[in-house]
Symmetry: D3
Subunit: 250 residues, 6 copies
């Protein structure tokens, strides 16, 4: 009986009735906006994120004349994407620290699998707007971002703007956590609010990680606990890669 089989044999403690290693129902619908070069609505259960990839000529000042492109990301939550309404960041006059942290993470993750030289002197901006939040918005955003980014690169190839696909590898992200003492995959909001440890993993198609952010919310976590989370994440990522490919019609 494998590690996961053992976990799953337990009477589940998850509010949703899911098994510890079970993802929520995940869908990635592409082509959801008319204008963006790439777009998708990615749903992880009730979490829904609208992702667009926009191609623009030119690069930020610090890259001028270096013969390479740039990929960056912005993230936002609609004010009533949450249980109670949050203040609109545009009205507040600034993005919160959490927002900036998340959009930096998405941008770094995308750049980890893009050949910026092959992109040429242009920028792709990934906008991730949370329509509905039920935990895991940043991992859903990253998973969808790669799909939108791939579509935008395909567009550039088809339009013969570039001749080589700058996408080097597949990438997806998933959250794991220790809930009620048990390592579980893909936390929803109810689990996330009560998790003892919360960890986000960004993993490439080759199986390497490019980002890990793990936080002990109420207590520290042991090496074994962390390893169990890492195992769950690897297994989850493989499912996400398949869903991404399916969304892209591969």
């Amino acid at each position: 009986m494998s590690q996961f089989e053992a976990l799953n044999a337990l009477k589940t403690i998850r509010p949703s009735g899911r098994k510890p290693d079970q993802l929520r129902s995940i869908t990635i619908e592409t082509g959801v906006t008319r204008y963006a070069e790439g777009s998708c609505m990615v749903s992880f259960g009730h979490t829904k994120v609208l992702v667009t990839a926009s191609v623009e000529q030119g690069v930020p000042p610090f890259l001028k004349g270096k013969g390479q492109g740039w990929v960056t990301a912005e993230y936002g939550m609609l004010p009533r994407s949450t249980h109670t309404r949050s203040r609109r960041e545009a009205a507040a006059g600034k993005q919160s620290g959490r927002t900036q942290e998340i959009q930096r993470l998405i941008g770094r993750s995308m750049r980890a699998v893009v050949d910026l030289k092959a992109l040429g002197e242009r920028q792709i901006t990934i906008d991730c707007d949370v329509i509905q939040a039920d935990g895991g918005t940043r991992t859903a955003a990253i998973t969808g971002a790669w799909v939108a980014l791939s579509m935008a690169c395909n567009y550039l190839l088809i339009e013969k703007v570039i001749s080589k696909n700058p996408i080097l590898d597949q990438i997806a992200a998933i959250s794991c956590g220790i809930f009620a003492g048990t390592p579980v995959l893909d936390l929803d909001y109810e689990e996330d609010s009560n998790a003892e440890t919360d960890a986000n993993f960004v993993i490439t198609g080759s199986g390497d990680a490019v980002e890990i952010q793990a936080t002990g919310e109420k207590r520290g976590f042991s090496r074994d606990e962390f390893n169990a989370l890492f195992d769950l994440a690897h297994a989850g990522a493989i499912e996400l890669f398949a869903l991404q490919n399916k969304a892209l019609g591969k």
Copy 2:
């Protein structure tokens, strides 16, 4: 042959092939988010606006202790809701003058048909987020806002938080304009960018107007021209009222 029949007899000059007094295909889908007390996705052709109505206890400081409620609105466009990406207002650190103008208009329009005393000391915030923009986002937002607001008031009635429906009348909004010399109803982006005159009308179920904003974009407009636009708006509003009622299951 009536005024509109005469207009429609002309070989249409509209890029979409619509008749001068023809609305785009309009849909109002309610209940599109899990958390908001009222919500809808309103589409005027390719223009799509997600509207939520959020009920919160308490009122702004200037109304404290006056025994009445408040209805306000916020408006935003997703960065890639437009043909080319616009800067995210939260990143820019402020809302543009246009955004503020529109959200003030939506708020005033809603308050025109709400009995704020009957609402009690609570606030309903209408969030109008443009998912895709193809002209007429503010009028689509107002039309959807009334639907979301009605749902939120129904929620308060059902929950017995209030005993009397604060909604006094129905309200909807529509744009009209003079395009290629002809008065037309419900401008799309291509028409809007080239219109000689652009006018937005907010009209109540009783047939009165509560807001008119008319602008001569390239030249002034005559009294006759304005009257033709006003006629179109009245006729369009009647269609919108029916669509709103249908969306609410009336």
Copy 3:
């Protein structure tokens, strides 16, 4: 007995004792500052707005190299121009939505009567600063703005910077409203605070309108009511054109 004669026959209901179609005492004093290329102090009764027109070389980035000029406007109220002191916008760190709405309106109105090609690659900025506010500041500002703008264009002609007057038509603005059930012209603050409907009209010398902003403050307004306001505005504009011309020594 004409429509206006009938109105005026009524025992007036206006706090100021004015007849329904009677403007306040209006003065436009030009040349009130030493430095601006055009300037005036425009008074509509107790409302006083200092307007300057400043010519600057160059145009905003979005017009670079297009062989045309630009006219824009900024608006502000001195903190104690009002009955009770308002917060200074420079100290608050931003302009209110109302301020932005008004300055956008002034700018659009001026551009409606200027040949931007004839202006060449230069910008004229109209600053409208309210010294004292008693209702109708935006319409007084527009009426004065045209005078200051004309002076600045004359200056450019006299200095032989341009060879053709870019001013295409005259333009003025006036507010009307329904006060105590009666349509009245040129609302003062006391009327404005209690008006059922408030409408601002920007009208050109040729009799066309370029902007209409009408708001039902407490209830909607009927088509007939709106038409009565429009009639008042047309009549008022003719008086304003004469005052503008007199101020310019024509």
Copy 4:
């Protein structure tokens, strides 16, 4: 022959033809706005500052419950009060360091001659808005501020809000500088831009100074030079006190 007679005997080097110890033509017109509890337009030659004093109930948080009042000041320049248009601070989103420095100086100066206990728990805000700038705006502002402040205190006495005049002494301000090697009084813009040393003195009716700000613009200044400026300031202040009293009808 006194020190000043000696100076004046010299062929004047001042662009305006004034004698070294000669003030510009100075006027203080009171009651220039309808709403403010105190107001004046103060002119030092072409420099014109509109000053209002506004009484408000309550004090800033740091003074709550201490049984005393507060006097504070704000300063602004209209965008075209200067030779070339300056950016509007409200549009820029912040007040410049210079603006803050000046308004802090005005506030401190006023508080130096006010018995804050006698004022009670209320605040008087002095707004100094420069209509036209030709050097010496801060000293004109202070000189006018005392007049507006006195009027506001008189208003409180007349209304029997307070029973004792909180004004302890008279106060006025004047600039002096070394221009073309000569100490001169009340610099205009042309002198100010070329002065070797620029000094502002705030002086009370009792002859004491409450603020001195002296700056060597191109070189340092000697003790003797400073003393000559201080002498000029004392003489100028006496003239200003008389003008303030005359403005107040004393």
Copy 5:
């Protein structure tokens, strides 16, 4: 030969000549400011961070009346703490995303080892100001923050403000990375700029982790690589705990 012995047997590839598992020279000098309830200057080689812990009565609004305290942190870099001068954040008008990310990390780390109930309704703010930056500023800041926090808690115990030490465990942080293909401990700037993977670990005295942030800078990292970094971090933390205790005189 253990894992680390094997690593160290290699001819070192570190620019500093350090062995792979060797910390820089680390010092923690306490009591470096007169006013703060706790303070230290923590140096990791050339990286120097001044840390103060300030006790204030009261808690943030979201904790009012909940019978518990709060620990938060702020982080900043002096403009010339870096090789080339960076823009001062106070002058720029906002904290960068990086700054916010780091100060949130420091705050979460401290709260992980504090019994907020035992702290009572007061807040301890940890200020971490980087005097000189040579890599690892956030880990140095966390390591020093625990020392300053402990001092502040001791102060509260000695002053009998609280009766029970709210510090539950020791905590320290260290960076590790893969440099030139080799896992190394405590990266300096030269290593950090060229590292293939960069990971920060926050570890408690009990050996658990409370935060892990790992980033593949140029490529992803394998599970084995990550485990090597985790091993280095555990070993490094033990050294840091001893240095913290020594600094506190334990």
Copy 6:
């Protein structure tokens, strides 16, 4: 018996036990950071300011192409440099009026003794960060700024970037005040908070002043009182010049 001997003969009234004309213990330690072209930690008693001088290519836009350089300064206080923690300006989103006033003063003072032509088209930015505040931070900052600036100029000479030393004269600053009726030199915080008059003098090696800022805190000050302060400042400056030279190894 001289003026100062007479003062000193009095039983001292200073909290620190210092004589009226006695400076605090002053130290200037140079070379305190690795990266800055010039740096020092300047201490006036418990007041400690870290000063760095950073050389950058290029000048601000208003000096482009004028063949001269620029010297500017920025000032900040660490949040807990004071008795009670102050809000971090970067978190507040703006620099206070006091901060801006001080950094403008430091910049003007430095420029008064620099030949900007000799500096060439480069900028030296002086950062003055207060590590601990016990009164006199701005005068300590100026005194240290000249040392750091001199070091940066020496660096440019040694590197043969410039061929002539742009430093024209020495400069230092000192505060004086009237405390308990007595003129005293170099006020500490306890004296400063209770001083009747507070004056800052910036004085050059040639004995001229370049800046004087004197404020009557509780009452005005007489001409005689001011002269006594000026005498103290001149004497104090001579001591500071010696300390600056010693710090520079002259």
